[in-house]
């Protein structure tokens, strides 16, 4: 078939698909013109924004308000109207500690365990994530054979659902899993990866890095490719050693992308839940219990569920995320200003 015939078919198909849209547009045309005539551009803007604002209001703002309200109530009743107003008692309960350095002395020691685990996770996972993403991006930016294939390989895990990620790694890491089978075949003793506390925590960090590193590597790769090739050639003419090229040219020019990756990773690490929940269930014991899982279990899963306490914990976590998001916005705006110069 000729290219001309293909174009003709494509045009006809486009016309058929667009016909109902055109009809709809024609039907809405007179009332919209009236609205613009009598209401002006502000009313028109509000009209077009209304559907999104409605969805945002119903699914974000309203639950947020309800959550704040729940955090100021007590008891086990599910409906807000049946719950007793307790003011800031739930927050007080969360912060009620004999000694903040010893979480055993806290009334909600599980909350502080989750805070401690999440903080450790954030520090380890973010450093590892940024480091691995940077190395991956640097490698993928080289003139590799089958470069597109390798890029796809690193990005592929990002497309998997977190539950699938958790299940895959549970099959690999469990007592009779693939990894231990391999170790056994090589003559090593099997390791209880998901039963031993430190290994389980390391597995949580490693699996979450594996699942998301492709996305961050892609951001850094875009940054690396935006650095003009001539700068490296100028450095080559100047006799710059590879290490100095990295520290003095690549890293400073990649810094805007690195900062974005750092803050995005931070925000996502604080919210870690699904893949680790499927992988370890928070165990062994509470060694991989993170803040989101704590909130979920206190609010919905435990026998003595306490929606008020869970809401208070989620509001505190939300505040941390707001701070991190504002930090990210600040960085993005600063980069925009610099880019505009």
């Amino acid at each position: 078939m000729t290219a001309q015939a293909n174009t003709s078919i494509a045009r006809r198909a486009g016309a058929i698909i667009m016909a109902p849209v055109a009809l709809l547009a024609r039907a809405f045309d007179p009332p919209l013109r009236m609205l613009q005539k009598f209401g002006g551009t502000n009313v028109m803007a509000a009209f077009f924004l209304a559907p999104n604002m409605l969805i945002f209001g119903v699914f974000v703002l309203f639950p947020l308000a309800v959550n704040i309200a729940y955090s100021m109530t007590g008891g086990n009743a599910l409906f807000l109207t049946n719950r007793e107003f307790v003011g800031l008692d739930q927050y007080e309960r969360l912060f009620d500690c004999g000694n903040y350095l010893d979480r055993q002395t806290c009334r909600e020691d599980l909350f502080w365990t989750a805070v401690w685990n999440t903080s450790s996770f954030v520090v380890l996972q973010v450093s590892l994530m940024v480091g691995v993403a940077l190395v991956t991006a640097l490698v993928l930016n080289r003139d590799l054979k089958a470069r597109s294939f390798w890029r796809a390989v690193f990005f592929f895990p990002v497309l998997l659902s977190p539950v699938v990620v958790g299940l895959i790694w549970r099959w690999i890491l469990q007592r009779q899993g693939l990894l231990n089978f391999g170790l056994y075949e090589l003559g090593f003793e099997p390791v209880n990866w998901l039963v031993e506390r430190n290994w389980a925590f390391a597995a949580a960090v490693g699996v979450s890095v594996w699942a998301h590193v492709g996305f961050y590597a892609l951001i850094l790769l875009a940054g690396l490719q935006a650095i003009p090739k001539e700068l490296y050639e100028a450095a080559e003419m100047d006799g710059t050693k590879p290490g100095r090229v990295f520290w003095r040219i690549t890293l400073p020019l990649l810094m805007p992308n690195l900062l974005v990756v750092l803050v995005l990773t931070l925000i996502r690490a604080v919210q870690i839940f699904d893949e680790v929940y499927v992988l370890t269930g928070g165990g062994p014991g509470t060694s991989t219990l993170f803040l989101t899982q704590y909130i979920y279990e206190v609010g919905f899963a435990s026998h003595l569920r306490n929606p008020g306490l869970a809401s208070a914990a989620s509001i505190l976590m939300g505040l941390v995320l707001i701070v991190l998001t504002l930090f990210q916005l600040g960085i993005v705006r600063r980069n925009d200003r610099r880019g505009g110069k």
């Binding site: 003009p228 700068l231 100028a234 450095a235 080559e236 003419m237 100047d238 006799g239 050693k241």
Partner: protein, 361 residues
């Protein structure tokens, strides 16, 4: 002192050969311009000399020392890139110092070299600014400054004026020529602009499709182009080409029969009667004549520039003919005019496009 010699240099990218057996000798202190249309291989050739790329075949020597496999940094050359390639996150001072710091030069000497280059290029007030805060012309000077501070054996300049506006390009061109005079350094300059080549070069290398078409001084190339390509490329506006046939040679003169434009006699050339040739004549070599003599052509467009008048015409046979007439002339589109020409100014090329040599006596 720096003499650069290329011997049989070729470069292929996969199946595509972009440079074919280039032989060239660049003398010490010479400003050589590589000129040619886009894709002719001039930048590739410069990169090979710089050491940023390796030839597939052939050798490159600097001062008779083979540097074909020597790293770019060890060739003692400095390059000014088309995009300037200044490090955007460093100040002008840091940009100038970067290469010297790599060589672990003492701080005092670095500062002295920067001060000297800054004075020479008048960039001292901008030393603490970043490249993003400079104009195109200032950035260009910094890029040249970065090359100067290294005190290289030769400068390689890859279309350094192409990002400047027309006015700035002319003034910077003059500054570059003055800089070459002052430094007496070997410079290789790449451009696609024949005017830049004509005004700057000691010698011009005309490249086409990866081959050297001609090497010579600007006037050699202008007065005696080796082939049709060089004749058409060098000189602005470009040379007119008219098909002609050799009528015969008698008494040291060859008669040329022009299609639809009569005949004329030129100094005898090495060609046989009946040979098809191309006559080349510069637009500036045509003169308007009154009466029934000369080549007739119909005017299609007149550009009155004040000091000169550019007349676009079409001859009876359909060939276009451009004339640049000195002064102002009352000529209008649609009018038929006649041109005379001095037969000593003509260029003749054979059917392969090669310049016809004078006939042996």
């Amino acid at each position: 002192m720096s003499r650069i010699t290329l011997t049989g240099v070729s470069r292929s990218f996969g199946q595509v050969q972009v440079l074919h057996d280039i032989d060239l000798d660049i003398r010490d202190g010479e400003l050589v311009v590589f000129v040619g249309p886009s894709g002719c291989g001039k930048s590739t050739l410069l990169r090979l000399i710089a050491g940023l790329d390796r030839p597939t075949k052939g050798t490159i020597a600097i001062n008779d020392e083979d540097v074909t496999r020597v790293a770019a940094a060890d060739r003692g050359l400095a390059m000014v890139f088309q995009s300037y390639a200044l490090y955007p996150h460093m100040s002008v001072r840091q940009n100038l110092a970067f290469g010297l710091e790599n060589a672990r030069m003492p701080r005092a000497e670095i500062d002295q070299r920067i001060a000297e280059a800054a004075r020479m290029l008048e960039i001292a007030p901008y030393l603490d600014r970043r490249p993003g805060q400079l104009s195109g012309g200032q950035r260009q000077r910094v890029a040249i400054g970065r090359a100067i501070v290294r005190n290289p054996t030769a400068f390689l300049l890859d279309e350094p004026l192409s990002n400047l506006d027309a006015e700035l390009r002319i003034s910077t061109r003059a500054e570059l020529a003055a800089l070459h005079e002052r430094l007496s350094a070997t410079m290789i300059y790449v451009t696609h602009d024949q005017t830049e080549a004509m005004t700057l070069a000691d010698r011009i290398v005309v490249l086409r499709a990866g081959r050297i078409e001609q090497v010579g001084t600007p006037l050699e190339l202008y007065n005696r182009p080796a082939n049709l390509f060089v004749a058409g490329f060098i000189g602005a506006p470009r040379m007119n080409f008219l098909p002609a046939e050799i009528g015969g040679t008698k008494d040291g003169r060859t008669r040329l029969d022009l299609e639809g434009a009569g005949s004329l006699e030129v100094e005898a050339v090495a060609a046989s009667p009946g040979d098809e040739v191309t006559l080349g004549l510069r637009p500036h070599q045509l003169r308007l004549v009154d009466g029934g003599e000369g080549m007739a052509a119909e005017v299609s467009l007149v550009e009155a520039l004040g000091s000169e008048t550019v007349v676009h015409t079409r001859m009876e046979g359909g060939e276009s003919l451009l004339a640049v007439l000195s002064g102002q002339h009352q000529v209008e589109a649609g009018e038929t005019v006649r041109f005379s020409l001095d037969s000593t100014d003509l260029h003749l090329f054979d059917s392969d496009g090669v310049r016809l040599q004078p006939a042996a006596n």
